[in-house]
């Protein structure tokens, strides 16, 4: 639901403009397509970027001002460079539209646009925020800033988080966004024997290097009328609540991560990316990204769409739709975590969940997966797949696993990772309302094609 914000624009008093043409080359009808593009313009001394920049849409010969967000701006020798973001209302298949960037008006006041995204800071910690638009409400963890709770305001409007640990139940439970994470392997550490295998709480053979264990990491926030982007980065230390401080461990840093979220005011989806890098040689039992974890009874079904790689141009992939077993206690082996292990490729087109009764829906579109070693090129990671896990009363989730072992803790199954392993991902998290299956599948296909076929953006010279 887009806030109506267009206003007539009078170009008098403006120094100049540059035109940008947006064109659909994929034959898709576009609605509310975010545009985010680089630009540069000549500016005089004393130029006020917050007041003297506008995006104008040419509509039937009329100049209409639309909300825009300019960021990452720098001025070098009279040239202002940066990025501008705005939303394009709609575009016909193979259509094109012209927009203009007007600049330079010493009399202009900073524009005020209605902001449909509300971001408020919470009381519980430096990274505690509530991000809300008409479609969703998302709350971040007070210390780490990871997505903690998610509500689909068009659906059941209940939080989807699960409780990994009983101890956190009364403290808001555990985060929906669970990655990137790493089980660093120390199979030689046997300080507490094998307590966890006998029902103990933690085990010394691993350290939980999870991004949601961050304590107020370095962060950068870009906010404006179009989106708010939060980037956090830093060393991922063993999770403070799940680490035995008495264990002898190497005090140096060996895993670093960066996580970015971008939330739009008028869109039901958000962008998420992460990078995880090994800073020194290490061993692991697994590394995971692309992992959103939900309470098992939130959703009734899941769907999985494969990547189109290898398909003939007009052939189609089969989208699998499966009834969730965890939600209704129908796992044949009640303690086996994964329902799909080592059969889904690491890169899918998208996957998602919906609930037939509450209409809650969530889909994750995988835009990018890139794995490398910054020193030697090829990454060393081994077993690499998307896993699907569900357990009654616990959680349901997909994750992209790297160097995953099914026989955790076994020393011989720890994977050696050299310094410089770098695992990158970009995803879109889409909260939707499920009415019926054909409609959901059609809207997912359309969204996937739209997200993966960006508009062609051409600036005039």
């Amino acid at each position: 639901m887009k806030t109506e914000t267009k206003t007539r624009f009078d170009e008098e008093g403006w120094t100049g403009h540059r035109s940008v043409r947006l064109r659909d080359t994929a034959g898709l009808a576009r609605t509310l397509e975010p545009v985010d593009t680089e630009f540069s313009i000549p500016v005089p001394e004393g130029f006020r970027p917050d007041a003297e920049l506008r995006i104008i849409h040419l509509e039937a010969g009329q100049l209409m001002e639309i909300p825009s967000q300019f960021y990452d701006l720098t001025v070098v020798t009279g040239i202002l460079s940066g990025r501008v973001a705005f939303l394009m209302d709609h575009l016909q298949p193979h259509g094109q539209e012209e927009f203009r960037l007007y600049y330079g008006n010493s009399q202009a006041a900073p524009p005020t646009y209605p902001e449909s995204l509300r971001v408020t800071t919470g009381p519980d910690g430096p990274q505690h925020r509530v991000i809300e638009n008409d479609f969703y409400k998302i709350e971040t963890m007070p210390e780490s800033g990871q997505i903690w709770h998610m509500w689909n305001k068009k659906g059941a409007n209940t939080s989807w988080h699960h409780n990994e640990w009983d101890t956190n139940k009364d403290k808001g439970g555990d985060p929906c966004h669970w990655a990137p994470n790493c089980w660093a392997a120390y199979p030689e550490r046997i300080t507490n024997g094998y307590d966890v295998l006998a029902g103990g709480e933690d085990i010394d053979l691993i350290d939980w290097n999870y991004a949601f264990g961050w304590r107020d990491p370095e962060s950068r926030i870009i906010s404006g009328p179009i989106f708010t982007e939060i980037t956090r980065q830093g060393i991922v230390w063993p999770h403070p609540e799940h680490t035995n401080p008495e264990i002898k461990r190497d005090p140096s840093a060996f895993v670093e991560a960066r996580v970015t979220y971008r939330f739009y005011g008028d869109l039901p989806w958000f962008y998420q990316s992460s990078v995880l890098e090994t800073l020194k040689d290490m061993r692991c039992f697994f590394i995971r990204n692309c992992q959103f974890v939900f309470l098992a009874n939130i959703f009734s079904h899941t769907f999985i769409a494969p990547d189109r790689t290898g398909l003939l141009p007009t052939d189609e992939a089969e989208i699998a739709v499966l009834r969730l077993m965890g939600q209704i206690g129908r796992k044949p082996y009640t303690h086996q975590q994964h329902s799909l292990s080592n059969v889904l490729p690491s890169k899918l087109a998208y996957y998602g969940f919906y609930n037939e009764d509450t209409t809650d829906g969530f889909a994750l579109f995988q835009l990018t997966e890139k794995n490398s070693n910054i020193h030697q090129g090829e990454p060393v990671h081994s077993n690499h797949a998307t896993l699907f896990s569900e357990l009654p009363g616990w959680s349901a989730y997909y994750c992209r696993a790297l160097s995953y072992t099914n026989q955790r803790y076994n020393p011989e199954n720890a994977t050696f990772l050299p310094k410089g392993e770098r695992y990158e991902e970009e995803n879109i998290g889409f909260l939707f309302t499920h009415n019926n299956l054909p409609q959901t599948l059609e809207s997912m296909e359309n969204a996937d094609r739209q997200m993966k076929s960006p508009l062609e953006v051409t600036w005039d010279s």
Binding site: M325, R330, H338, L340, N342, V343, P345, H384, N413
Partner: protein, 469 residues
């Protein structure tokens, strides 16, 4: 099974003039009890006049000692001049890492045909041939010979409950080719052995197994079969006292053929008989010390209603899954049995002149339609079967061959079934080494031994991990 208890075994075999000794080597680290062995034996033709009744198989504890006689079944006797080759099947117990010495006695003109007890029964009451043993009952379609109805025998104490698992009067698809018409791509037509009418058949019937080999052409429905159409050979083998049916297919293309699909191993079951589909992947990137995790999908009619007919899980499951199964975990007061129907992969080969045969989106597929569930494996699978550009042309001379074992067993939540199936898959894919002695003296060329009804198993690679869960 009959086992001889004759005290003086040397005396018992007076009258037999010759013996071939088989050395059967098991490299398996586990005991192989009731191992079904099927081997080709070559002897001089002059000693083979009464093979139909004088061959005996005797376990030998030492080179010069006879042990128990075991039931055997002689078949496929072929004379090649001075040499005769025949196949003999029997069952033996093989301890781990052992060599078993077995005597094949022959040439006794006075011998009478042996009579062995067996639980394998074949009958025909007009609705098609029925074959059953202590574990299952299988009925074959009277027209095509395809497996039509399959029931598992579930036993508790003295009761045996017969549970039908597959739809009746709806022969199993087996192998299906979806032909494309380049001039009218919107009208594909399919053909499967289920459409055959009285194909060429070859039965082997005995106390140890019953086999049926059928050969024919796959022509689109409504078209007469010609030499230009692909030929298909389908084999079933029903084994005594074992909960297994071996199924084998060999599909050969005799001219360049435009298709939208080649689907093998179609198995269709009644939806209301099963609750889950499960499968065991093979993950080469897992270290050998790791374990594989079995995957599960809920398939109860109640829970998949509303899904569009067709593949409900397709394209993700590897073509070379080690095994997959429909399982029933619906334990109720009324019906306390849980059971499983499992397809264990034994052999796959596909060749074309000059290289490997064409594959397009090869995968294992799970499909449903109305009250039925199916699995199939497709070396070639096109979803959009109405576009010229999606037509796959299979080159002349391409061959797609597969063998699997259909296993019927009781399921349990404690993973006994799971480990049994994995162990069986490992065992069936670990062939024994069998040599026969003495060698023939002259330079007579013995025709290359074929492997009997089936190709040698080649899915041992899938069982190299430390285990399964």
């Amino acid at each position: 099974m009959l086992f001889s208890t004759c005290e003086n075994k040397i005396m018992k075999y007076r009258g037999w003039n010759f013996e071939k000794t088989l050395l059967i080597r098991s490299e398996s680290p586990f005991d192989r009890r009731n191992e079904f062995i099927d081997v080709a034996v070559a002897v001089e033709t002059k000693c083979a006049a009464t093979f139909s009744r004088d061959v005996r198989v005797v376990m030998k504890p030492a080179w010069n000692r006879f042990g128990n006689e075991v039931p055997c079944q002689v078949y496929d006797i072929r004379e090649h001049g001075s040499i005769t080759v025949f196949r003999v099947a029997f069952v033996a117990d093989l301890p781990a890492h052992s060599t078993q010495r077995v005597g094949i006695l022959y040439d006794n003109p006075e011998a009478e045909s042996p009579r062995y007890e067996t639980d394998l029964v074949m009958s025909d009451e007009g609705k098609g041939t029925t074959i059953e043993n202590g574990h299952y009952r299988a009925r074959l379609d009277p027209e095509s010979g395809n497996l039509d109805a399959l029931s598992i025998k579930l036993r508790v104490l003295e009761y045996t409950h017969l549970k039908g698992l597959t739809p009746e009067c709806n022969p199993q698809g087996g192998v299906r080719v979806i032909f494309a018409n380049p001039k009218d791509p919107g009208k594909p037509s399919s053909a499967s052995a289920a459409n055959w009418q009285q194909p060429e058949t070859n039965w082997v019937e005995g106390p140890l197994f019953i086999s049926l080999v059928r050969r024919g052409r796959l022509a689109p429905v409504g078209q007469p079969a010609t030499d230009r159409h692909p030929s298909l050979e389908l084999t079933y083998r029903f084994v005594a006292d074992q909960p297994v049916i071996h199924v084998s297919s060999r599909l050969e293309f005799h001219e360049d053929t435009p298709v939208f699909g080649i689907h093998n191993d179609w198995v269709t079951v009644k939806k209301d008989c099963f609750s889950h589909y499960c499968f065991r992947p093979d993950t080469p990137s897992l270290p050998a010390t790791d374990v594989e995790e079995v995957g599960h999908i809920l398939v109860t009619a109640e829970h998949i209603q509303g899904l569009p007919p067709g593949p409900i899980f397709g394209g993700f499951l590897p073509y070379n899954l080690a095994w997959h199964a429909f399982i029933s975990t619906v334990r109720t007061q009324k019906f306390r049995f849980d059971y499983a129907l499992t397809g264990i992969r034994l052999h796959e080969s596909s060749q074309a002149p000059g290289g490997p045969a064409l594959h397009y989106r090869p995968a294992t597929y799970l499909s449903h339609d109305r009250d039925q569930l199916s699995w199939f494996r497709a070396p070639v699978y096109v979803k959009k079967q109405n576009r010229t550009e999606n037509i796959i042309t299979i080159p002349k001379g391409s061959v797609y061959a597969e063998t699997y074992a259909l296993h019927l067993g009781e399921w349990d939540e404690k993973k006994n079934w799971l480990h049994q199936i994995d162990a069986l898959g490992k065992r069936l894919n670990q062939p024994l080494t069998i040599t026969q002695h003495p060698c023939l003296l002259d330079d007579t060329i013995i025709p290359e031994e074929d492997s009997g009804l089936f190709q040698s198993p080649n899915f041992g690679f899938a069982y190299k991990k430390a285990g399964v869960r």
